[in-house]
């Protein structure tokens, strides 16, 4: 296998320089958005450009950070290491944006950070992003025991997140549970498969949100929709010829 290496490009260098040289909030927003668009459109994202976007997360400029997060999500796996390596425990804002980026990328290396964020971040918008991210971790490339471990941990985190006091976090937990449930629902698996046991817990958790336990109607409605989607898969499988 040949690994493509990013070619130095004058265009990339120019866009990075524009981010670094921005001297106003509006200028930083424009430059970050331009670099993010450029990265999203490139086959092999340049590491220096990724690093530059990761730094933007720490500049206390929400507009620029939103653009940077979009660009980093578009980079996918290539952005995971730089994001994890640059986590700053003392810059709450930067950390919150990194959680959002990792949630959107869905790489399993972000699992621990997402768990921590859902359990204890003070910002509901960060817990919300973490819950959604825990439901869309891509672990297809892992061996079965690794997959089970990741999904088991994600499920545990989401079960606990279902007790969150903010309705919007519980809504995101329901969306996360649906994602996890759809990943686990595999027609090839028998009743004794460990995935089947996890799926049963996903349904249980969704049932708790669907019933009167959750006081917020939109959360109950979303849980009902999620259960309907999981049931539709189960019915379709049962009807398929063996």
């Amino acid at each position: 296998m040949t690994i493509a290496t990013p070619q130095p490009s004058p265009e990339t260098d120019r866009l990075i320089a524009a981010v670094e040289g921005a001297d106003s909030a509006a200028g930083l927003l424009t430059a970050s958005a331009a670099l993010a668009r450029h990265l999203a459109g490139s086959q092999v994202p340049a590491p220096a450009a990724i690093t530059s976007l990761v730094q933007v997360l720490g500049f206390n400029n929400p507009g620029a950070a939103v653009a940077a997060v979009d660009g980093l999500i578009a980079c996918g796996e290539a952005a995971v290491e730089p994001l994890l390596a640059n986590l700053d425990a003392h810059n709450y804002g930067a950390r919150a944006w990194a959680v959002r980026a990792l949630a959107g990328i869905g790489d399993v290396r972000g699992l621990e950070l997402l768990e921590q964020a859902l359990a204890s971040d003070i910002g509901p918008s960060v817990r919300r992003a973490a819950a959604r991210g825990l439901g869309q971790l891509r672990c297809g490339a892992l061996p079965q025991d690794g997959r089970l471990r990741v999904r088991g941990r994600a499920l545990e985190a989401l079960e606990a997140g279902g007790e969150d006091g903010e309705w919007v976090v519980r809504y995101a937990v329901v969306v996360g549970l649906e994602g996890l449930g759809l990943d686990l629902a595999d027609p090839q698996l028998g009743a004794m498969a460990p995935e089947t046991a996890l799926l049963a817990r996903v349904r249980q958790a969704l049932n708790r949100h669907q019933d009167g336990d959750d006081t917020v109607p939109v959360v109950r409605l979303r849980a009902r929709q999620a259960l309907g989607r999981l049931n539709a898969i189960a019915t379709r499988e049962a009807m398929e010829p063996q």
Binding site: P124, S125, R132, W167, A172, V216, V218, L221, R222
Partner: protein, 275 residues
């Protein structure tokens, strides 16, 4: 509607407390900051305790000067008591709130008006209308040396919309505020008229405010569209430049309080995308 987060965060911070502790804190009168927190707590937790309402009604009668050193607003305890009474849903407190609506403190009148709106108190329509009758140049004129208006117009107008009595007199009183200088007041008027008449043109006024250059105005329009649950606003809500957190609150309103197209499926999908 002005954006405030009084629903989710305790004023002045504080540790989690029990219902019994909250009632004790509200009962004592030596430390008003304890009372202030307790009143907020009882409303936030939707306390069903039989003593909660009587204690809050007593607190509603408390008056105190503003204490800048303590960082506490004028009549802080009474204002928080009014807010809590709005959330507890007991119609028996309406006469107490109507009395507070006549107080000389416009901040207390504001809290009382909002509570009366939440309680859908039809008895409040006449006094609310009376306070607005002098129009943008009277009730809506700025106070000297203060950013506040003569009357808390936004709260008074929104309460009329929430109560929902669409009499010609109510509509005529709200109408002139569509042209108030301040966009937040215009937003409140459009919101109330949309609630009262369900006429599309008032929804479209809110959509215009959703494109206002000031973030604060776009936020207010978002909250107003959510409060009415006006579903044709889905696309503009997604497109406006504001925090996803506020868009999610607005869309929740469209799901829970709205009807018609777009349907729940499309609304929930839009919410999922904002997480």
């Amino acid at each position: 509607m002005a954006v405030d987060d009084s629903g989710s965060s305790p004023p002045g911070g504080g540790q989690p407390i029990s219902e019994a502790e909250a009632l004790d804190r509200l009962r004592q009168t030596a430390d008003q900051s304890l009372q202030y927190y307790a009143a907020w707590w009882l409303g936030r937790m939707r306390s069903r305790h039989p003593e909660a309402v009587p204690l809050l009604c007593a607190a509603l009668r408390q008056r105190q000067p503003r204490d800048p050193g303590a960082g506490v607003e004028h009549n802080a305890v009474a204002r928080n008591a009014a807010r809590a009474l709005g959330k507890l849903g007991d119609p028996a407190v309406v006469p107490d709130l109507l009395a507070a609506l006549e107080d000389e403190d416009d901040g207390l009148r504001e809290a009382a008006a909002r509570a009366l709106g939440e309680l859908r108190a039809e008895q409040a329509v006449a006094p609310l209308t009376a306070r607005l009758r002098s129009g943008p140049a009277g009730a809506g004129a700025p106070q000297a040396r203060s950013p506040r208006l003569q009357e808390p117009c936004e709260a008074l107008i929104e309460a009329l919309g929430d109560i929902g009595i669409a009499s010609p007199e109510v509509l005529a009183v709200i109408h002139p505020f569509l042209d108030h200088d301040r966009p937040l007041i215009r937003s409140a008027a459009a919101r109330a008229l949309l609630q009262l008449t369900a006429e599309r043109r008032w929804g479209e006024r809110l959509l215009e405010l959703l494109e206002h250059p000031q973030l604060q105005v776009r936020r207010a329009a978002l909250m107003d569209l959510g409060a009415v649950g006006w579903r044709p606003a889905l696309k503009p809500i997604r497109a406006t430049l504001a925090e996803n957190s506020l868009k999610l609150i607005a869309l929740r309103g469209l799901v829970e309080d709205g009807q018609g197209d777009p349907g729940e499926e499309a609304l929930l999908q839009a919410m999922d995308e904002l997480l």
